[in-house]
C-alpha cells in the first residue's frame, strides 16, 4: 500500500514546471519577501509556510531562508534570477527549523556561501535525521542528508556582509525562539529581518528559551526600524507596536507558568489551563500552544 501513496505524495510535491518562480513582494527597494501562509506543515503544503526572500546589492544577492523543501528553494532561486542579474553570494539561514532551511540544496553552487548562527550546525546535526524522517512521513517531501547544508560562515556575535553599496549586519542572538536565531539588518533601508524572533498573526512557537526570548524582545523594542520582517506574518511598519501581541503572549505564559509551579501544579495539568485567554488572538493556537507551555514549563521549573 505504501508505494502508490508515496508516488501520489511525491507527484504532488513536484511543481508543475521546475522553473516556476516563487511570488515575491518588494517591501522596500531591493528587499523582496515571499509571505508564507499560516498553515501547520503537512503533506498538502509540503512545509512551504515561512516567509522567505532576498536582499539585492550592487555586487551580491543575499537570500534569507531557503524554503520548506528543495523545490521551494528552487522556486525562490528562480524568483531571484527573474528579478536581478546580480549573483547570489550568500544564503543566510535564520535558524534550524525545517520551513526555513529545507531549501538550502537548491542554492548550492560555486561562489555561494551559507551563513548561520554559530550554534546552527550543531542543531542541524542533532535534529537532521529526525527532520529528514519527518519530511518523508509528514511533509510528503523526499530529502537526503545532502540537502542539509550547514553554514560555511558562522556568526558568533555580529558580522557585516557587504553586498555592494549595501551592508547587512547579522546578529547571533542568545537562546530565544531557538538557540540559533540570527537576525539580518539592512542599514540602507532601516529594515530588520527578524524572522522567527517576531511572529504576527501566527502564534509564536517556543523552541529555545522563554526568558531569553523576552530579554531579546526588551532589547529590540528599544531600537527603531522602518520595516521589520517576521518569519510568519506581514511586514511591519509600526515598530515596536506590532511586537506587542507576541510580547504579551510570552509574558502571559511566563506569569501563569510561574504561578502554577509555585502552587505545585504538574506539567500535564498546566498545559490544560495556562494561556487559553490568548486562544482567539492567534492562528494555529491549537497546534502549538501546548508545546509552548511544555517547553516554557520545563525551563521555568529550574528557576
Amino acid at each position: 500500500m505504501k508505494v502508490p501513496l508515496l508516488c501520489l505524495l511525491l507527484a504532488a510535491a513536484v511543481p508543475a514546471t521546475a522553473a516556476t518562480a516563487l511570488s515575491v513582494k518588494e517591501v522596500t527597494p531591493g528587499i523582496y519577501v515571499h509571505f508564507g501562509k499560516h498553515l501547520f506543515p503537512d503533506s498538502h503544503n509540503h512545509g512551504e509556510i515561512a516567509n522567505l526572500g532576498f536582499i539585492v546589492g550592487q555586487k551580491c544577492v543575499a537570500v534569507v531562508d531557503s524554503g520548506g523543501n528543495p523545490e521551494q528553494g528552487a522556486a525562490l532561486k528562480q524568483a531571484v534570477s527573474d528579478t536581478t542579474k546580480t549573483p547570489i553570494c550568500y544564503v543566510i539561514n535564520t535558524h534550524v527549523h525545517p520551513d526555513h532551511i529545507n531549501g538550502n540544496s537548491a542554492f548550492k553552487a560555486p561562489g555561494v556561501k551559507f551563513v548561520g548562527h554559530h550554534k546552527l550546525a550543531r542543531a542541524m546535526a542533532a535534529r537532521g535525521s529526525y527532520y529528514l524522517d519527518r519530511a518523508a512521513e509528514q511533509l510528503g517531501v523526499k530529502m537526503s542528508a545532502t540537502d542539509l547544508i550547514p553554514p560555511d560562515i558562522e556568526v558568533k556575535d555580529s558580522m557585516k556582509l557587504d553586498l555592494g553599496g549595501r551592508t547587512l549586519v547579522l546578529t547571533a542572538h542568545p537562546a530565544a525562539h531557538t538557540d540559533n536565531d540570527l537576525s539580518v539588518y539592512d542599514r540602507e533601508s532601516s529594515t530588520m529581518w527578524l524572522s522567527d524572533l517576531l511572529f504576527t498573526e501566527h502564534v509564536p512557537t517556543l523552541d529555545g528559551s522563554l526568558k531569553g526570548w523576552l530579554a531579546e524582545i526588551d532589547k529590540l523594542e528599544k531600537q527603531s526600524f522602518r520595516y521589520v520582517i517576521p518569519g510568519h506574518g506581514d511586514v511591519v511598519s509600526d515598530w515596536p507596536q506590532s511586537l506587542q501581541p507576541e510580547k504579551h503572549y510570552l509574558t502571559l505564559l511566563q506569569t501563569e507558568i510561574r504561578a502554577a509551579i509555585k502552587k505545585g501544579q504538574h506539567l500535564e495539568d498546566a498545559v490544560q489551563t495556562i494561556g487559553y485567554s490568548e486562544k482567539n488572538n492567534w492562528a494555529l493556537f491549537d497546534d502549538y500552544h501546548r508545546k509552548n507551555v511544555t517547553t516554557a514549563f520545563a525551563e521555568l521549573e529550574w528557576e
Partner: protein, 276 residues
C-alpha cells in the same frame, strides 16, 4: 493535520495507518518480547496498571507520561518492577522502574521522547513473577520541534543539580508523592555524521536510586528516551521523620543504539529532610 488534507489523500492514507498499527505489534512480537520476556506469558490488562499519555505528542522531546497502579503495595502482594518501552523509538527501552512495599503505591510519572507514531507499553511484574501489560498509542507531532532538548547549553550548565519537591504536609503511614528533578541534558548521541563536529556520544542518566532512611523506595534504570532534565514522580510511605536520598549515575556510550561500549560517568546525590 490530516483534517486539511483533501479527501483523496485522506482516503489514500487510511491503509497506511492500519499497516503502521500492525507493524507496531510486529516490533513487539518479533523483537521486544523475545528480548525482554523470552518464553514468558504476559497477560494484557488494565487491572494492575494504567497508562496516561497524550493522544498527540505536541512536543516529541517532552511527552508527559504517567503510570497509575490499581493495587496497594503490601508485603504479600506488590508490583516489583515496571518496564516501559516505546516500540518505534530508535532505542525502544525507556526504563525499568523498581518498587517495594515501602513505596506505598507503584505509581510513576515521567517525561519521555517519542520519535514517531508508536505504542508506548508498560509491563508490570508482580512479586510472584506474574506479568501484566498495558499500552497506549501516541501520535508524534510534526512541526518544528525535535526529540531533543530546546536549550542544550542551559542543561549542560546545570548538569547534576537536583531538586526534591514534596507536598507541604507529609503524612506518616500513607503514600506521599515525591517529585525528583534531575538536571541533565540526556544527550541521545543520535546525529548526522556528515555534520558532526560536536557531541559524538550519548550521555544520559542510567541509574536512579531513592531511599528513605536507608530503605529503597524507588529505583530506575533509564536510557536516552527520558527527556532532558529527567523528572520523576513516585510515592513513599514514611513511618517517622527522616531523610530522602537520591543517588543518580550517568553514563556515556559510543553508539546511540548499542550499550556494549559505554563509559561509567558521574554520581550525583541529593538529600531532603522529611518532617511529617
Amino acid at each position: 493535520m490530516k483534517k486539511i488534507l483533501p479527501a483523496i489523500l485522506l482516503t489514500a492514507l487510511l491503509p497506511v495507518g492500519n499497516t503502521a498499527a500492525a507493524e507496531d505489534e510486529k516490533i513487539w512480537n518479533n523483537v521486544l518480547k523475545p528480548e525482554y520476556f523470552a518464553q514468558q506469558a504476559i497477560q494484557e490488562s488494565d487491572d494492575v496498571i494504567e497508562l496516561d499519555a497524550p493522544i498527540r505528542a505536541e512536543d516529541p522531546a517532552l511527552v508527559p507520561f504517567k503510570i497509575t497502579s490499581k493495587i496497594k503495595q503490601s508485603k504479600d502482594n506488590y508490583i516489583k518492577r515496571i518496564l516501559v518501552l516505546v516500540d518505534n523509538n530508535p532505542f525502544p527501552f525507556v526504563g525499568d522502574f523498581g518498587f517495594t512495599p515501602d513505596s506505598g503505591k507503584a505509581d510513576v510519572a515521567m517525561r519521555i521522547r517519542v520519535n514517531s507514531n508508536s505504542n508506548i507499553r508498560a509491563i508490570a511484574e508482580m512479586n510472584d513473577g506474574k506479568l501484566v501489560m498495558t499500552k497506549k498509542f501516541v501520535k508524534a507531532s510534526g512541526g518544528c520541534s525535535a526529540p531533543i532538548g530546546a536549550n542544550l547549553d542551559e542543561a549542560m550548565a546545570r548538569l547534576g543539580k537536583m531538586k526534591f519537591r514534596l507536598e507541604d504536609q507529609v503524612k506518616t503511614g500513607e503514600p506521599n508523592q515525591v517529585q525528583l528533578m534531575i538536571s541533565h541534558p540526556n544527550i541521545t548521541g543520535m546525529q548526522m555524521d556528515q555534520i558532526t563536529r560536536f557531541i559524538k556520544r550519548s550521555h544520559f542518566v542510567k541509574d536512579v536510586k531513592v531511599t528513605f532512611n536507608g530503605k529503597p523506595v524507588f529505583t530506575a534504570k533509564t536510557d536516552i528516551a527520558i527527556s532532558a532534565d529527567p523528572n520523576f514522580r513516585f510515592y513513599f510511605v514514611p513511618d517517622k521523620a527522616g531523610e530522602l536520598k537520591a543517588e543518580v549515575a550517568d553514563t556515556s556510550c559510543e553508539l546511540p543504539t548499542k550499550r556494549d561500549v559505554c563509559t561509567k560517568g558521574d554520581v550525583y546525590t541529593e538529600t531532603f529532610k522529611v518532617q511529617p
